[in-house]
Symmetry: C2
């Protein structure tokens, strides 16, 4: 079968690899219907994080279950499933606490450090899912082709945007600013609106993304950054800053923008993977009682909550996909996102 | 009248100073019944923060209103009042948002940088309160002498411990660890129990403070620090860490202890004034979804909530005072706290 393998920075290849086999009794083989490229996939692509040896890549996919191990109970062959961007058992104490990204038995797609094999990436024709019962969310059929992009966002970006809003404690009537206009930031706009925010400020400099943010519920667009951006957010929020700010980038600059755009006593919900390890300025936070909450989003736990709104069309996160390519052209997909020709690329095996 | 003045590190003097006068119409003169020394007063005392010129010191006091300005509506001569450790108007947007420590018109005791004079400290015979309506909380009379210590804690330490618990989101049934066994840490134990925590771990190495923590509701005492302390907290919390951790010290070490004693998805509530500017390790926080929330505690807004429990004896924060001295001996009070001979000293003018 075909699967995407990263060999080094800017060296993405779609290669013939062995088709995965069931091995633990708790696993499942999924035929991938659609996958996509994540902003965080660009880090090894750009060499920001090193690629020491070739390995599978990709961690967002939806598909149809081909076969399941003997101990699998929640998933059956033929089910249409959404896989979150990580593997979890759904039963450990951290999963029960709603933090399935800290699953005691979980792991990450595309790594092969564990004996029981978390080796497959999501950008391939088939994927072995090590802990099928905890990891996979079944979408009751039938699934129409036009639903695929929206469902695929539940594997990462929609759930991650939602996590930013939940972590920040967005409530009805709040003012919310969103830092970052990538797919996650745009989904954070959806999430803020869905949770009842009435002022939603999208910080974006790209006309197409501004338009999509408006379509998703943004009431204001702020194109400025830095001091100017902070001043504009304050102007829009009675002079004090937004009640909640959703940080969806992960750089020192974006976190600084977020912290200083938040009103005293407000909260930053952050989901941008901290790139280069920015540290938080605790004295500034202390003086104004601005909290910081969030992290790697436990999206598996949000699928059941968000799925009905995606299927009904009440929210339309699938619109973040602005390019679709066959899996064989995965290298082009990476290049398109790297060069900002695309916000989010959908891959079809 | 007499008031405490800091001249330099370890140079605390009780001096004759002019008695304050009403000046703005919105102010009040309060005769101080009891004041106290705060852990944060030790910073200038120890020279950690420089004292560039002599100024009044002290920011926690209760007393009786002597006279009020013509525009004061909520406070009358003869009222017994609690002053929080800062001045606030109670009406600006930040006050209305519950963050009166960020009052747009407020200020700090013992500073004289503002034209309208926030010069008085709390450790004196009389204090001019610049914004009396917003700042002072009236205690309906009569007030019995034995109530004074408990009421005095509402000016800072009890409200600050409560803020740690509120910021961390303590809920019934939670496991809570408290880092710091000073007056604030001990009050945080009270607050955690009051909010329904069922496992309360006090981190303390001092037998007297351990005993008081137990009396206040601690279910476990952990004397170890660092890796050992973290391991013990995890043992007591099902292997994962406490749901909420209350950081009541303010050093890099104490914040590290707090962050690593928190379970994935948990929250650190912090009120320890960051000493020396520790920065928060955002990558660690991100990976485990541990949030950080808190800051300089808006205690004014908590007085009405906590006062009934203090007066009924349901909570007994006044027990944190283990030494009482006349105001004239304020220098000894500082020395006793500096040398850890006392947890918290009450001063009587």
């Amino acid at each position: 079968m075909l699967a995407t393998v990263i060999h080094a920075a800017r060296d993405i290849r779609v290669e013939e690899v062995p088709r995965p086999q069931l091995s633990t009794g708790r696993d499942a083989i999924v035929r991938v219907v659609a996958a996509c490229v994540c902003g965080s996939d660009l880090w090894p692509y750009r060499g920001v994080t090193p690629t020491e040896r070739p390995h599978r890549i990709g961690h967002e996919f939806v598909g149809v279950v081909e076969e399941v191990g003997g101990d699998v109970e929640n998933v059956r062959a033929g089910d249409f499933v959404i896989a979150p961007f990580y593997v979890c058992d759904g039963t450990c104490v951290n999963c029960r606490n709603g933090v399935s990204t800290s699953c005691l038995n979980g792991g990450w797609w595309g790594s092969d450090v564990r004996e029981d094999g978390f080796a497959d990436g999501g950008q391939g024709e088939f994927v072995r899912v090590p802990l099928a019962d905890g990891t996979l969310a079944v979408v009751p059929g039938p699934v129409e082709p036009e639903e695929i992009p929206g469902l695929l966002t539940l594997s990462d970006v929609m759930g991650t945007g939602h996590h930013a809003a939940v972590s920040a404690g967005v409530r009805p009537g709040d003012s919310v600013a969103v830092v970052g206009d990538g797919a996650v930031g745009l989904c954070a706009v959806i999430a803020a609106k869905r949770l009842g925010a009435t002022t939603i400020i999208a910080m974006s400099r790209h006309p197409e993304r501004q338009a999509l943010a408006r379509e998703f519920g943004a009431t204001h667009i702020v194109a400025e950054r830095g001091e100017e951006g902070i001043a504009t957010v304050r102007e829009l929020t009675g002079g004090i800053g937004a009640d909640r700010v959703l940080e969806c980038v992960g750089t020192k600059e974006s976190m600084d923008q977020a912290l200083r755009s938040t009103r005293p006593g407000g909260m930053v919900g952050y989901v941008g993977v901290p790139n280069g390890g920015p540290e938080l300025p605790v004295r500034t936070m202390f003086g104004s009682n601005v909290g910081v909450n969030g992290g790697v989003a436990p999206v598996r736990g949000y699928i059941e909550e968000l799925l009905p709104d995606v299927r009904s069309g009440a929210i339309r996160p699938g619109l973040v996909f602005d390019l679709e390519l066959p899996l064989r052209e995965a290298a082009d997909a990476y290049a398109a996102m790297d060069e900002r020709r695309a916000t989010k690329v959908l891959l079809r095996p």
